[in-house]
């Protein structure tokens, strides 16, 4: 057993990160969730039900697609895309929400709440709730309800209530605050379905476990396709769930280098970025000790980047830990680079990515020439671009 197999520790810490920094009112519910999850993990029926849903309903396994034209365009490397964009609802988020909603049912909770940025987690939660007949309320920053209007409509059609959040920067950070406040009030009957590897223990571990299906499949698929492990795994990081899902199953494969790509917005020299792992300092946000974008006095900064799903001043504590122990490297690319990568992938492969994974593609494009010839790269293609078409077309074609 290596160290991450035993991480987080029993109190939810990844080294100095993680933990449970929440109001006392929800502590009992977190304990209940931890116990329910521990029991579910040992229960073959639960595992079978989740696996069946992932296969028959969500569309797993997703292909690991060799992107021949993209590879050739970038240089002498072999790029594989882990196609989470092909899942039901259009992104990796469904892996987690099916797991959590199954847990909610086990715990007898009839109502589920969620926060959402790009709306993908909100849609995935609303979908799982519709599937199980649970009441669903999604908190979404008002600014995000506008730039991701299509997802708001999808959630409503799925029967969820979408509550716009008008405090702070009116984006994901504020949606998280409001979801936690609502949970503090409704905790006896409600499960809070967190959408990323953030929040208090046990969420970072729980969401990582549900998302690790990405990396487990990718590992087997690349071995089958190439007969060896990749040199590099690249994924975008907002809260960090698709990146941890891809990285974690390769943790012990020390030769596989991890690069997490954050949204650099208009550049790290401006205040318009969300490069938490690159520029943040240790702090506490939304229940966990992690890296946080904050001012000198510890006030959380508002972020402002093109991709709503990366527009967040915190990050999962496990990423902060990977950075600390230098297991992963974290970088930032600008919105403009991401838009260009969107066009690149659309033109070379006929795949329109969501804005979020476009940051990962953009970073790969930037470093491809420096990679050793014949390098094998796995990129987490976390979602598809339908939701972003208005923004992408306005910025690229308009």
């Amino acid at each position: 057993m290596t160290r991450t197999q035993t991480l987080p520790d029993a109190t939810g810490h990844f080294g100095p990160f993680g933990g449970t920094f929440v109001p006392e009112t929800v502590m009992a519910a977190l304990e209940e969730l931890e116990q329910a999850y521990a029991a579910a993990r040992r229960d073959a029926a639960f595992r079978r039900e989740l696996t069946t849903l992932l296969r028959q309903y969500a569309g797993r396994p997703t292909p690991l697609y060799f992107a021949r034209r993209l590879s050739r365009t970038l240089g002498d490397i072999r790029v594989y895309l882990k196609r989470e964009d092909l899942l039901h609802t259009g992104a990796h988020k469904i892996n987690n929400t099916l797991g959590q909603v199954l847990l909610a049912v086990r715990m007898g909770k009839r109502r589920v709440i969620a926060e959402t940025g790009a709306g993908q987690h909100g849609v995935a939660t609303a979908t799982a709730c519709a599937l199980f007949g649970l009441e669903c309320e999604v908190f979404m920053g008002e600014a995000d309800t506008r730039r991701q209007a299509l997802n708001v409509l999808r959630m409503r059609l799925l029967g969820a209530r979408v509550t716009p959040v008008r405090s702070g920067s009116r984006t994901l950070k504020d949606a998280c605050n409001e979801a936690i406040r609502n949970w503090v009030t409704t905790v006896r009957t409600t499960h809070y379905c967190i959408g990323s590897v953030v929040g208090p223990h046990p969420y970072p571990r729980l969401v990582r476990d549900f998302q690790s299906v990405i990396g487990r499949e990718a590992r087997a698929q690349i071995l089958a396709a190439e007969g060896r492990l990749p040199d590099l795994a690249v994924a975008c990081v907002g809260g960090g769930s698709n990146a941890i899902g891809l990285f974690h199953p390769f943790f012990r494969d020390r030769r596989v280098r991890f690069v997490g790509v954050e949204a650099g917005g208009q550049g790290l020299g401006t205040s318009h970025h969300a490069a938490t792992l690159v520029r943040g300092r240790p702090g506490v946000l939304h229940g966990a000790r992690t890296l946080v974008l904050q001012d000198r006095a510890g006030q959380i900064l508002t972020t402002d980047v093109l991709a709503a799903g990366l527009d967040y001043p915190g990050v999962g504590p496990e990423h902060a830990y990977y950075r600390l122990i230098k297991r992963a490297e974290y970088v930032a690319v600008t919105d403009a680079q991401a838009l260009k990568a969107c066009a690149l992938l659309s033109n070379t492969e006929g795949i329109i990515p969501a804005l979020e994974p476009a940051y990962a593609i953009a970073h790969l494009a930037a470093i491809a020439k420096r990679l050793r010839r014949g390098s094998i790269v796995v990129v987490g293609l976390s979602g598809r671009g339908d939701k972003d078409l208005p923004v992408i077309t306005e910025r690229l074609l308009g």
Binding site: F21, V22, E24, M27, N177, V184, V284, V292, A297, Q299
Partner: protein, 266 residues
């Protein structure tokens, strides 16, 4: 100046209950903070909670959130709030405790709270309430507080199971902060019916003073809570009363009148 323990002992001997108003440091402005402390004591406050504003106050409802946002928009820093308390501290008898969140507290000296607690103690602050630090994470805070002689006041909630209740009651210093409702701070029309039973349960396991906060807004509610608790904490309703005034002076006198009215009930 009295200690928290001294205040509760004196009140117990007199068979009186503590009235504990909450104000947000820097709201409506920093000059008002010191004046409010003096006015609240004159109106009958036995202990006063001063908030250090944080950008993302998870445990707070809309009224206290808005007060924090206003204070931050004026550029209020934790240091300034501490200095505002210090300026009037010699003229106050009532102990002052500080309510804030873990991030601004730990960032003050980037040292897990040691620098903040040293500074707050030097400004005459007797205790801290940090609603996002539950017992499990309270180790660093408690160690830093112990070094300065500051009380770490812990919260119990209606959802705290018996074993947690006992552990928190044992560990809390100064008093135990009983959260009356399953929810965030904010004035409510009615208090939950289970409140009295919850307080009775807590009384069975501790002799420490128990003060009740979250949701108390009227003299009648305060009087009902005072029958079962050692103290009544009022925040949102006080800020609401202040918010109706047009000027700083008006807000301060509104605060005084509001607390005097509650004083007659408690």
């Amino acid at each position: 100046m009295e200690s928290i323990r001294g205040t509760f002992e004196r009140l117990r001997r007199a068979r009186r209950r503590a009235l504990i108003p909450f104000i947000m440091g820097g709201d409506p402005d920093l000059a008002a903070t010191g004046q409010l402390l003096l006015t609240l004591e004159a109106a009958g406050a036995d202990l006063i909670e001063v908030g250090v504003p944080f950008s993302d106050p998870l445990a707070d409802g809309p009224i206290i959130q808005a007060a924090a946002t206003r204070a931050l928009q004026r550029g209020t820093t934790p240091h300034q709030v501490l200095q505002a308390v210090r300026a009037v501290r010699p003229r106050l008898r009532a102990p002052v405790v500080c309510l804030t969140y873990w991030n601004p507290l730990m960032q003050y000296g980037r040292d897990n709270g040691q620098a903040f607690l040293k500074a707050s103690r030097a400004c005459g602050i007797e205790g801290v309430v940090v609603p996002d630090v539950p017992l499990e994470e309270a180790g660093p805070l408690r160690r830093a507080a112990e070094a300065t002689g500051t009380a770490v006041i812990l919260l119990v909630a209606p959802t705290s199971p018996p074993a947690r209740l006992r552990a928190i009651a044992r560990a809390s210093q100064g008093f135990i902060y009983y959260v009356s409702v399953t929810g965030t701070t904010g004035a409510r029309r009615a208090l939950p019916p289970q409140l009295m039973e919850g307080l009775r349960q807590l009384r069975l396991i501790t002799t420490k003073p128990v003060c009740v906060g979250f949701g108390i807004s009227t003299p009648a509610q305060a009087a009902a809570v005072a029958r079962m608790a050692d103290g009544v904490i009022v925040g949102s309703a006080l800020l609401q009363a202040m918010g109706q005034a047009r000027s700083r002076a008006g807000a301060i006198s509104a605060a005084g009148r509001f607390i005097a009215r509650l004083r007659r009930a408690v």
